[in-house]
């Protein structure tokens, strides 16, 4: 055996030894964890499944702020776990089941595409409370919760309607699902409430998170003459592009002002913390029941980031709209509502029901590039 061969053999046996050590260490940790759970019975274990990385500075980041609010509220009374960047669909089932098997008491699944996997796992673990964000299917141990994001979009529309000079507003959209359609329509209604000339131009990127593609989409809208950019995707890239081109934009899901201090007009900020605290408290005192929550500005689940980079009268108009939505004096979805094909979805004088909002699959006349 040559020296070289010997060194290869040494390395290989070294690798085996290393693997064996890792295995031993892992089993030791598992044993420790089991002992640990036996020690703290009253500790509520709360699990989260995230669709993106917690560093996305958008959707998932906002949920993680909510998770940290739980830890702050209950201190050693809770133990939280999260799995990030879990793909939607069939793969999610394994992630949710893993949290269930690890003995979590409450599991929050925080994306629409986790709906069926959540229900499936929930059937197998009737004692665990599941909470699914933005879905519409419930069972005895599955609640649903969401935010009326469209209220924030309406206010963004009011601001954009005042600020635009080209009357063309660009909108980077992810997927044509009701959630996104509501945002688009509410934005246009807000804009048209102050400026009937506004048209809304969509670009579909078919992804929630791809900074490069979101950037290209926003750039294409600016090239087409849009002077305000709104987005329903998760990265700060569209905001940055707006800033580079000297036009205005809105942050998504979190305050993204740091990325574009001179371009961000405002942002709808999702505030999940109060809901998470209330639900974990309910699980602790046994009052938890399956329910559907759809809160907005009024309940504090949605807040607006500081109104910036706009004249005072526009700020005042935004605050008036915000206050109006909160106290119910501003009705966003009032007829007549006519879609791009000319079909009337709501007659004059009526208001759209939550049921109709949840299934919204049409875009208002004035939206260009609707699916």
């Amino acid at each position: 055996m040559t020296a070289v061969q010997k060194s290869f053999h040494f390395l290989r046996s070294g690798l085996w030894a290393f693997s064996a050590t890792c295995l031993l260490a892992a089993s030791f940790l598992v044993a420790m964890a089991l002992v640990g759970t036996a020690d703290a019975q009253e500790k509520t274990k709360v699990g989260f499944v995230y669709v993106g990385p917690i560093g996305d500075h958008g959707w998932t980041h906002a949920h993680d702020v909510g998770r940290r609010a739980l830890e702050e509220e209950f201190g050693s009374g809770v133990e939280t776990t999260f799995l990030e960047s879990v793909p939607e669909g069939a793969d999610a089932e394994g992630a949710i089941r893993r949290l269930a098997n690890e003995g979590h008491d409450v599991i929050f699944t925080t994306s629409f595409g986790y709906m069926n996997p959540t229900l499936k796992v929930a059937r197998e673990f009737p004692d665990i409370r599941f909470e699914h964000a933005t879905g519409y299917k419930r069972s005895d141990n599955v609640s649903t919760y969401s935010i009326r994001f469209y209220e924030g979009r309406y206010i963004q529309g009011v601001i954009a309607g005042h600020m635009t000079q080209s009357n063309a507003i660009g909108y980077v959209a992810a997927f044509p699902i009701p959630e996104v359609m509501r945002g688009i329509n509410a934005f246009l209604l807000g804009a048209r409430s102050v400026n009937p000339e506004v048209t809304l131009h969509l670009v579909w990127v078919n992804t929630w998170f791809d900074p490069g593609k979101e950037r290209d989409a926003a750039q294409s809208l600016i090239d087409r003459g849009a002077d305000i950019i709104a987005q329903h995707t998760d990265s700060a890239a569209p905001l940055q592009v707006a800033s580079e081109n000297g036009v205005f934009a809105f942050g998504q899901a979190s305050d993204m002002r740091a990325f574009a201090p001179r371009a961000q007009l405002s942002a709808s900020v999702n505030s999940w913390g109060p809901y998470y605290v209330a639900r974990v408290q309910a699980a602790k005192d046994g009052s938890w029941e399956s329910q559907d929550t759809w809160g907005g500005l009024k309940s504090g689940m949605l807040t607006m980031a500081e109104y910036a980079n706009m004249p005072d009268e526009v700020k005042a108009a935004a605050r008036t709209a915000e206050q109006g939505i909160r106290d119910g004096s501003v009705a966003i979805w009032k007829g007549p509502l006519v879609d791009t094909d000319g079909t009337e979805h709501l007659a004059a004088g009526l208001e759209l029901s939550d049921q109709a909002l949840l299934g919204m699959a049409w875009a208002l006349e004035g939206v260009q590039g609707a699916p």
Binding site: P53, D56, F209, G212, K213, S220, R224, A260
Partner: protein, 306 residues
Amino acid sequence: MLEISWLAIALTIAAASTPLLLAAAGELVVERAGVLNLGLEGMMLMGAVIGFIVKVESGSWFVACLAAACVGALFSQAFAFFVLTLRANQVAAGLALTILGGGLAAVLGAGYVGVSLAPMPRIPVVGSELHPWLGLLEHSPLFWLGLLVVVGVQWFLFHSRAGLVLRAVGDSHDSAHALGYSVLKVRALAIAFGGAMAGLGGAYLSLVHTPLWSEGMTAGRGWIALALVVFAFWRPWRLLFGTFFFASVTILEIYAQGFSLAVPPQFFAMLPYLATIAILVFLSSAYWRGRSDAPAALGKTFAPPY
């Protein structure tokens, strides 16, 4: 709405093609040496995060790009150690590199989320105000570097002695070994070059295209670069064509939505992948087997016969 200018579209296509061009040119050399490195995505993310951090801390574009390339090369040597020294499976080791790179970059960049940079300036073209089409030549330095790399790789592989040795190693490592060439050394160097280029491609994203750091910000571009190498039949010139084709289609997918075409944008989105599948089918046909430029020893582990 204004008419969309073709100039703007062309510039966006050039911008979208740069990271793919850099990463794919590097991978092409790696595969020509007979190694399949599926860790592109991980190396790009490492380059992106280190480039961003170094730019924020040092303020120098040059140092940031250099650091990204060095980190890409260094990180790729972890892969080289496993597949060359320990003779591990290349597919498994490459996937591990992608996963490790994504995670490590997230940890390193955690403190830099939410920091924003001004994008790297383009190289100005003298006289671009005289005629708008001269504006076509205004690109980021990394775009020009990408083109240079492709030209350099073409020259290296087909017009230099060292390139001939590298191709020999990739086609038949046993013969190259018998002739006295160090297969492992050649492959380690090729992997380092591939890592450096992937690092630069990642840095392009975090410094030029979207000057921010966000986990997973490459969003699958490493995998596209990998497909491009196959698409190009392992030829640098075709790689250039393939990259612009891929980038054009993705950009047209976005811009076409403004033309109100009857074609759904999803059609454009799937076009590059359909083309890649068609080429893979074509390559595996009886006629092409043995005639294509695919390195014969691609993905095979080399065990020196002592």
